[in-house]
Amino acid sequence: MKKEVDIVIIGGGPAGLSAGISAGKKGKKVLIIERNEELGGILNQCIHPGFGLLYFKEELTGPEYAQRWIKELEKLNNVEYLLETMVLEVKENQEIIATNREGIWEIKGKAIIFSTGCRERTRGNLQIPGERPAGIYTAGTAQRLVNIEGYLPGEKVLILGSGDIGLIMARRLLWEGAEVIGVVEKLPYPGGLTRNLVQCLEDYNIPLYLKHTVIEIKGKERVEGVYIAPVDEQGNPILEEKKFIECDTLLLSVGLIPENDLLETINIPIDPKTGGPYVDQNLLTLKDGFFVCGNSLLVNDLVDYVSIQGLLAGESAVKYIDNILPIDKRIPVEIENLRLVVPQYISFPITTEKITFYLRIREPQKNVKLILKDQDKKIKEWRYLIVKPAEMIVVNVDSEFLKRIEKPIFSLEG
């Protein structure tokens, strides 16, 4: 089957939905391709509240948050979507090959937006030694099983990694009657948001073991237990101090990997710091006509940011098609004492009123200044009482300040 549209959006989660809405509202013909059986992405399994505080100024559950956008999208007749449809191939000329039960689709777009989200890091990625029993789950898979399928994956659970999904799942499994032995975190500080640490662990007396890791999995058929050990300053386990913990399930909440495998097939360069492609302030990748937003751009800690990025990518794609996104020059944004920045480039001329920068730090710090410099000249400064790796720093800079910038540098200073 053949189809021609203005904009193809790959992925119908929060990023794809808002991208579809913003492009759709400008009258463009949009097609969203979603591999799951419904729109909304991972939000559908996030039945806990806490979504939308930033964007809607109210607290919603994941499915509620998704529904707001889906309703909005359904109003737009020029935005279509295909469900249970898998993109097999993306070509450099903005053509897409996809498959579903109806057949093979050849879809031609003028611009493509990638909103493909993340996958979870696995036991294999971490190289955790031991046996290979059933009962080792990524936190997201466990969340799906409990919240959508209605099944409990385990009754005595240890969680490795203090990422947000792991913390949320600690509480969720406890509510379902499972014993949650604790959360083990290799780093000296937790990986999740403070509110999740308080509401999911502290409120339920679930212990958090910092500077510990799982060094071996035991169990021939089903998990029977794991060995945990403290780690030294370099993060290497101190094997002599290992301790056996009996459990039937090991949940892994050890980080997310932006899914950019399709985009890599057409050689769009990826920033090793973010795991997502390099983009400019329009969320345009280094290949013309290909945009990216949401968690495949960088792992966000709030879905609200994902939606905001989607809106921007949608608008940018429309400008691109309408030929009002000229790029005369592109300069890199540098960072000092920071882990990552998005966008990694500023394109000129700047066509937006402001540019939103997303930054992450390496280690928790107190009383710091974030400084935006042009070479050595200070342009703007922000002060923070406390910054944490788990919480993104988001700053808006008026384009007025950036118009003539030559060497933008973000620097975190004590």
Binding site: P129, L145, G150, L152, P153, P237
Partner: protein
């Protein structure tokens, strides 16, 4: 009464069953696990060795070279991938060159058709990522790679089509000698048989001990651990890379797989517990350290999985392919360690000859050698895909997103001649769950398909049989349709 009972559903048992299925014989294969290809067949380097390694005159040498030659037609008939990608054995100094020269001489004696010693420049021209410290390499272009578990499964499907019976989850507990036949007692029943072929792999000595507890043959299990790298590492090496062998074996290798991954390993550790398939921190460190010799650029950040396998090495050193005099009509194909996979087709032919020496067997005229199989969705052209989807829409619905496995392929695996009943069995047949997300996205979809097709509740689905249940129970207050 059956003519032949084959004990063990690994690569040896499978190819023996297939070869015998071309004759008018009633065959029964007994496998103690819930699926076939569960032992060394499941976890090895998947290399079809050229044959320069075994000592000339041994059975290993003979069957290695013969087996290697049989692989093309075997894999073509059984629709299993096989590629002759060649192998290099690297030498880093003049002393190691001497070992290469020895290997070359062995190879020539063993009948390896092509074998050369190359110099650094010639090697680096073909394998750009290898260390500049290489001095020489033995190059054997006939070395290949295949998919051992698919080969086993397809061989048995072929055997079943030709009339063989395969019983899974059935363990041989006792063998009683009767007048002119044997009685085989399992956990599920009793069978009378004229012949027995012991292909029990890691447990082949236990079968021998069932007959004669004092017989001097012991399996000395040797564990090997591996890393699997993401398909993004494809092309890092194009051939299989070894270092010169030591007494312990061929050492760490670096090789492409037929599916486009890269494999690094194995270690070689003698172990006592033959069920110990655990991976270890020390094993991982050893692989990384030794592999560094090949290249300091190996992309270990692309590791998607680790595994270990147990080689059925024995005190006999060579392959033990014999009848024990007091127990005639029982052939033991035991102690099959490397190059067991390569030798398997040749060992299977030996089993046929063994029976032919005992009685006249007539060919089964209706037997087929070829298996009808549609290629995996991932390997089809879009035109072929379109055609299949029109016949059955489930071809168009992708379940495993990393390896592009369709719903129809999962169902075919469940309803095939050797039915997949576990997540791991589906993984072996279709690759669903073998990709970079390691089943995080697709496992519950596959569990649902399994539950529907096998008509069992989701809580009964296992990862690999027995007690390996995926789920504990339903939620406390479950939403019901």
């Amino acid at each position: 009464m059956v003519d032949v009972i084959i004990i063990g559903g690994g690569i040896i048992g499978a190819l023996v069953a297939r070869e015998l299925s071309f004759y008018r014989l009633s065959l029964l294969l007994l496998e103690k696990e819930e699926d076939v290809a569960m032992g060394a067949t499941k976890a090895n380097s998947a290399i079809v060795h050229a044959g320069y390694d075994p000592i000339p005159g041994t059975l290993k040498a003979k069957t290695n070279v013969e087996g290697n030659k049989l692989y093309e037609s075997l894999c073509e008939e059984l629709k299993v991938p096989f590629e002759r990608i060649g192998a290099y054995v690297l030498a880093f100094n003049e002393e190691e060159l001497k070992i290469l020269e020895n290997l070359k001489e062995r190879g020539i004696k063993n009948g390896v058709p092509e074998i050369y010693i190359l110099k650094r420049e010639e090697i680096l021209e073909k394998e750009k990522n290898l260390s500049k410290n290489i001095k020489y390499a033995l190059y054997a272009p006939t070395s290949g790679i295949t998919n051992p578990f698919l080969l086993t499964i397809h061989a048995l499907e072929n055997a079943v089509e030709n009339g063989a019976r395969i019983n899974l989850g059935e363990e041989v507990l006792k063998i009683e000698k009767e007048e002119g036949f044997y009685k085989v007692i399992t956990n599920k029943g009793e069978y009378l048989t004229k012949y027995i072929i012991n292909c029990a792999g890691i447990n082949s000595d236990r079968i021998i001990k069932l007959l004669d507890p004092d017989y001097p043959f012991e399996i000395t299990p040797r564990k090997g651990e591996y890393f699997v790298l993401d398909k993004k590492a494809k092309g890092f090496v194009k051939s299989t890379i070894f270092h010169v062998p030591t007494e312990k074996g061929k050492g760490i290798l670096l090789t492409p797989t037929v599916d486009g991954n890269i494999l690094v390993g194995p270690t070689a550790e003698n172990i006592n517990d033959r069920e110990d398939k655990s991976t270890t921190l020390s094993g991982f460190l050893e692989i990384k350290k030794k592999a560094e010799l090949f290249s300091d650029k190996i992309p270990f950040h692309l590791v998607i999985n680790t595994f270990s396998g147990i080689r059925a090495s024995s005190t006999y050193k060579d392959f033990f392919v014999q009848e024990i005099p007091e127990f005639k009509n029982i052939l033991h194909i035991a102690g099959i360690d490397s190059p067991g996979l390569t030798s398997a087709p040749s060992l299977a032919l030996m089993a046929v000859e063994w029976i032919k020496n005992k009685e006249n067997i007539t060919p089964n005229k209706r037997a087929k050698r070829s298996l009808e199989k549609i290629k995996p969705f991932n390997n089809l052209s879009n035109e072929e895909r379109e055609k299949l989807i029109k016949e059955d829409p489930r071809w168009g619905h992708i379940v495993c997103r990393c390896e592009y496995v369709s719903e129809r392929e999962i169902i075919d695996a469940i309803t095939s001649k050797i039915p997949a009943k576990t997540l791991e069995a589906i993984k072996k047949r279709t690759r669903a769950g073998m990709g970079r997300c390691q089943g995080a996205f697709c496992s519950y979809y596959i569990m649902k398909i399994l539950s529907k097709e096998l008509n069992i509740p989701l809580t009964q689905i296992t990862y690999k049989g027995k007690n390996s249940y995926m789920l504990k129970r339903e939620n406390k207050e479950r939403w019901k349709e």
